[in-house]
Each structure stands twice: as structure tokens, then as C-alpha cells.
């Protein structure tokens, strides 16, 4: 199945994706609201998979909701919570329900989340999960057994252009491509010059790259991210810009910065699109896109 997302990636258009965070609980109205708000404004929506190892409504459940409401889902699958049997089973299920895009991730470590005593599975890693998808597409499972009906997915992965050190990260990036990744959504980037350098390198490979745009909501949050979140670097001039915003205006400044970055990436065709993550503020994504002139 060639998905709408894959068609958009191959059309040469600047592809916008965004992210839906499922609820912790059964009140799914807010998630439905976010889906309805974004489904016509972005090409596809990722649904996070127990993001930051915090137990939530499942990614596949969010993807089905997106399908039912006329949107295009990207199923995020981490290797933290399921062994190879469970991962393959979910891929079979996703395919039969028309969920045709998968983002393969290793998954955050268990101790960073809210079930700190749980067993981290990591039976597979992200490269191995990508290969698992390609194996299932060939009509066989990981055990080499014949499938009664195969799958077909548009499969992608993530890359961290600001990783420090960068060389091991790029080696893994290339391994993911060899394992079958067709697209990459990057960790948040803020230093466009450094990202352009990464893209000069990444353009050598036959994959589509969507730059990760995470909304900065305050100077404090920006500073926290750059100091504490692996692979995120917020340049000082952006922190200063947020700090200089009048009282109560930092969020609007953050929206303006995100919009400005998206516009710059699009204008210079730096990459193939952007993946906008508003982390709990999904209702602001249309404002970010408007600020980008989209």
C-alpha cells in the first residue's frame, strides 16, 4: 500500500507532519480534538508510544482514531516494551487496519519514566525493527516462517543531528538506511547552520528528512532543554530572544521562532519537510504553521 504520507514524500512537496500524544487514561476527547484540528493541516500525524517511558493510551489506538477521523497516521513503535513476537503481531494488525506508516525507535530507557521498576525489553533495536518490517514484507516472519498474508509499510526512523559526539550517531543513521528506513524525522533542531551541514551529508542518501521542530515555550524551557535533553542544542541568541519577550509573550515568541525556522527551511529547500512537535500544546500547531506562512 502506498500511503498518503509516502506519496507526499515522493511528490517533492515540503511535507509537514505533527504529533499526537495519547492520554493517560480513557478520556480521549482531547486527543480527538487535536486530531480534528490537525488532520487537514498536516500530511500525517505521529502517535507517540509511551513517550518518555510514561504509560499511556497506546500508539496503535491513537493511529486508529486518526484513520477513523480521516487523517493519516504514523505509528511510532519503540522496542522498549515488546519482544519480537509482540512487535511483529502489532505490525500485522496495523497493516490490516490501514495504518501504513511506521516510525521505528529504540525507545527511552525505563528509569526515565513513571514505571521505574518495569523490565525494559529491547529484544530488538531500531535497526533490527526496520529489518523486521522488510522481512514481514517478504512474506516471512523473523523466525523464517511463511506468513499467510504479508505487510507493506512506509518505514522510517529518527536521527539526532546535534548528537555529541556525532560520529557514532551518523554511523547508526547509515545503518538504519541500510536496514530499510525511507524517511527520518529528526530530534529537535534549532541551529539551522549546523542542520544545513548535516543535510549536506544526509543528501548523499536516498532518504527523506523531516526536520524536528519543537516549540519553545519560554527562555527557561529552552535553557532546560539545551542543558538536560540529550541531542538538543538551543543557541544562546534564541534563549535571549525568548528572555527579551515582554511578560506573557514568550509563548508567542516561541511560535514565531518555530514559524521562522520552518519558513527558512522551506525557502532554501534545506530538507524535505518538518515534523512539528508541540508536546502537550498540539492546539498551537496551526499557529506555528501560520507563523511559517503555511
Amino acid at each position: 500500500m502506498t500511503t498518503r504520507f509516502k506519496e507526499a514524500l515522493n511528490s517533492g512537496q515540503f511535507v509537514i507532519t505533527s504529533e499526537i500524544g495519547p492520554p493517560k487514561g480513557t478520556n480521549i476527547e482531547k486527543m480527538f480534538h487535536h486530531i480534528d484540528l490537525l488532520k487537514d493541516k498536516v500530511v500525517a500525524m505521529n502517535v507517540t508510544d509511551h513517550q518518555s517511558s510514561v504509560m499511556r493510551f497506546p500508539s496503535i489506538g491513537g493511529c486508529l482514531a486518526i484513520k477513523e477521523r480521516g487523517g493519516e497516521p504514523i505509528l511510532q513503535m519503540t522496542c522498549r516494551d515488546r519482544n519480537r513476537l509482540a512487535l511483529q503481531a502489532e505490525l500485522l494488525f496495523a497493516y490490516t487496519r490501514g495504518v501504513g506508516n511506521v516510525l521505528c525507535l529504540t525507545g527511552d530507557a525505563v528509569p526515565v519514566g513513571d514505571h521505574k521498576e518495569a523490565k525494559g525489553v529491547f529484544d530488538l533495536d531500531s535497526s533490527q525493527l526496520l529489518r523486521t518490517i522488510r522481512q514481514l514484507e517478504s512474506g516471512k516472519d523473523l523466525g523464517g516462517n511463511d506468513l499467510d498474508g504479508a505487510v507493506e509499510f512506509c518505514a522510517g526512523a529518527i536521527v539526532t543531528p546535534e548528537a555529541d559526539p556525532i560520529k557514532p550517531q551518523l554511523l547508526k543513521f547509515e545503518k538504519k538506511i541500510e536496514s530499510g528506513a525511507e524517511f527520518f524525522q529528526t530530534q529537535a533542531i534549532y541551529d539551522l547552520e549546523n542542520f544545513a551541514k548535516f543535510m549536506t551529508y544526509a543528501r548523499k542518501f536516498p532518504v527523506k528528512i523531516l526536520a524536528g521542530i519543537v516549540l519553545l515555550t519560554s527562555a527557561r524551557m529552552a535553557k532546560y532543554m539545551t542543558e538536560n535533553v540529550p541531542g538538543i542544542f538551543v543557541p544562546q541568541n534564541l534563549i535571549d530572544e525568548l528572555a527579551a519577550a515582554p511578560k506573557g509573550e514568550a509563548l508567542n515568541k516561541g511560535i514565531e521562532i518555530a514559524g521562522r525556522m520552518i519558513a527558512a527551511l522551506k525557502k532554501d529547500s534545506v530538507c524535505d519537510g518538518v515534523h512539528v512537535m508541540a508536546i502537550g500544546r498540539e492546539e498551537l500547531v496551526p499557529d506555528i504553521l501560520a507563523a511559517a506562512g503555511l
Partner: protein
């Protein structure tokens, strides 16, 4: 080989000894002595603590190597005191607990938690270096085991949680894959890291693991 142990909290030890009032204590002269969890000093400390808690300590001994065959002889030498006890409180790793349990028809209670098999890099600093997976990959990973030294046990390179050479789980811990990359690069063998590693066979020796050497 060093079996690294940590003493259980005294509350947990007391809970295990509920209803077992007469206790014989066994320490170990090898790993548990080195980790200061089951040597002579710790055994005597435990004796005092148990007596303060109202237990009767019928005797104690530190077996040279609790997981060794000689343990049987050492236990026999103390059979009088042991037989008069309700249980043996073992201050060795789980190997010693098993060995002692196999020789004596008494309740055997562990006073320690067995953490890992490790090396002492600096005095008092013990590191886990091998997960005993049954399929050694050290030849491809410049002598650093990713299954052990990477929190997630990843086989194909670092995750996105690596930061400035440290692990997202604990910034005091090195990122195994950053170290592996550094070493392989210095050895001009980075091709080993570029090579895809298929999913691991976690049933290389199905549990419970046994082997007969002939």
C-alpha cells in the same frame, strides 16, 4: 570472577527470620570478604545486630570460598551448632547460598543480594562487564560488551539518549557505544560497528542453564 553483593536491609533480614530464632551465620572468605558484605567483620556485626534484635546466635564461621566443594567439610565441622539452629543465615553470594543449601537440611536464608559478576577497577569500585549471555561479542566491540555496558543492551550502535559520552539513565555512567566507537576508530576497525548485527539469540542456552563438561 568476583560475585558482587550488597547486604539486604536489616528489616528484610529480620522479616526472613520471622519465627526462626536460633541462627547460625556463615560468611565467605572470597568475594563477599572483598566487597565487605560477608567477611569476618560483617559476620560479627551481624551477630551483634541479631542478638540485639533478640535472636540467639548458635555460632558462626567464615568459609574460605562458600561456593567451593570444601564447604561441605566446613559445615560438618560445625554440625553441632548448625543442627541446634533453626536456620543458617548466609552472608555470601547466591552461589554460596545454593551450595550450603545442598549440603545441609536446614532453612537457608540469604543476608545478601547478588548484584552482578564484576571487576574491581579501582579500590571499592566494582563494574559489571559481562552478562554471561552465552554468545560473546567482544571481538566485534573492541572488548566492551554492549549487552552489559549499554543500559538497553543495544547491538547496533548508540541510542538517541547518549549525551557527551554519557548515558541518559545516569550521567555518571559512560555511553558504551561512544566508548566502543572511540576504541574501534583508534584501531581502524570501524567497519565492525558498521556491520549490521541481527537480533540476538536469547535462547543460546535456554534457562535454566546447565552444561556437562566431559
Amino acid at each position: 570472577m568476583k560475585s558482587i553483593t550488597k547486604q539486604k536491609t536489616f528489616d528484610e533480614i529480620k522479616e526472613q527470620l520471622d519465627g526462626l530464632d536460633k541462627v547460625f551465620i556463615v560468611g565467605c572468605g572470597t568475594c563477599a570478604t572483598m566487597t565487605k558484605t560477608g567477611g569476618r567483620d560483617e559476620v560479627l556485626g551481624m551477630k551483634d545486630s541479631l542478638q540485639e534484635a533478640g535472636k540467639i546466635v548458635s555460632g558462626w564461621m567464615v568459609i574460605p570460598t562458600a561456593c567451593d566443594e570444601m564447604t561441605e567439610v566446613a559445615l560438618k565441622e560445625n554440625s553441632g551448632a548448625i543442627n541446634s539452629s533453626n536456620c543458617i543465615l548466609v552472608m555470601s553470594c547466591a552461589l554460596g547460598v545454593h551450595k550450603i543449601g545442598s549440603y545441609v537440611d536446614k532453612v537457608v536464608i540469604p543476608a545478601l543480594d547478588t548484584l552482578f559478576i564484576g571487576l574491581e577497577n579501582e579500590p571499592g569500585n566494582f563494574h559489571e562487564v559481562c552478562a554471561q549471555c552465552g554468545q560473546c561479542v567482544l571481538g566485534q566491540t573492541a572488548g566492551i560488551c554492549p549487552l552489559t555496558a549499554c543500559h538497553k543492551g543495544l547491538l547496533n550502535g548508540p541510542c538517541g539518549g547518549t549525551n557527551k559520552g554519557k548515558c541518559e539513565v545516569d550521567i555518571m555512567k559512560d555511553c558504551a557505544w561512544t566508548l566502543i566507537h572511540q576504541r574501534l576508530e583508534a584501531q581502524d576497525r570501524l567497519d565492525l560497528m558498521r556491520k549490521y548485527q541481527p537480533p540476538k539469540n536469547y535462547q543460546a542456552t535456554p534457562r535454566p542453564r546447565t552444561i556437562k563438561i566431559v
